[in-house]
Symmetry: C2
Subunit: 96 residues, 2 copies
Amino acid sequence: MFQNLDPLLHSQLRLAIVSLLISVEEAEFTYIKEKTKATAGNISVQIEKLQEAEYIKVEKTFKGKYPLTKCSITKKGIKAFEAYVKALQQYIQPAT
Amino acid sequence: MFQNLDPLLHSQLRLAIVSLLISVEEAEFTYIKEKTKATAGNISVQIEKLQEAEYIKVEKTFKGKYPLTKCSITKKGIKAFEAYVKALQQYIQPAT
DNA sequence: AAATTTGGTTTATATTATAAACTTGTTTAC
DNA sequence: GTAAACAAGTTTATAATATAAACCAAATTT
């Protein structure tokens, strides 16, 4: 009846990050920070978890002299997101 | 961009419970247990939280000699659920 | 009358989310 | 030229959550 919801995605911030990356090809750390309004520390932690699970790819480079972190979604991430949304429908769709 | 997700509903088990109650007028503890496959302890705790928030109403009676706990959703619960689903759309709807 | 079952509740623990504090380097103000 | 403020993060500590294990009271079965 109720499929399990992938705990990695069932987190407001991680879901927001993946949601952003789904539609954007690539995003900088600061962009994610602006869009999600979350603290840098929180984002840093959640990005690492998503990366460990290989839901996203993280590339650390430099923009001029400052560090620049770019994130993008992986195939695995897209699949996981789609499965999560599908599972979620069972919870939020009205009636049986 | 991303509205906050009501933490009370953003929990697999509590969401499942509310989801059940939305479409069923009234449900017994054991029914919830069967449908969610969760442990009784976990359900007990989560029901109490939902009740504290006045998202659900809990009525303790007896079925013959055994205790019987009946739950039903409140107006507040319905509203919260609807708001949660609406907020969630922003996360799971593809593209901007 | 001991063991098992029903219908839960309480408590302990493991996991999470989150913010605060810290780091490394850069730019600006004095 | 050096102290203060800023950029872009990371690490660590704490608070909140989810969850299961242990427990309880009464009823039933063996």
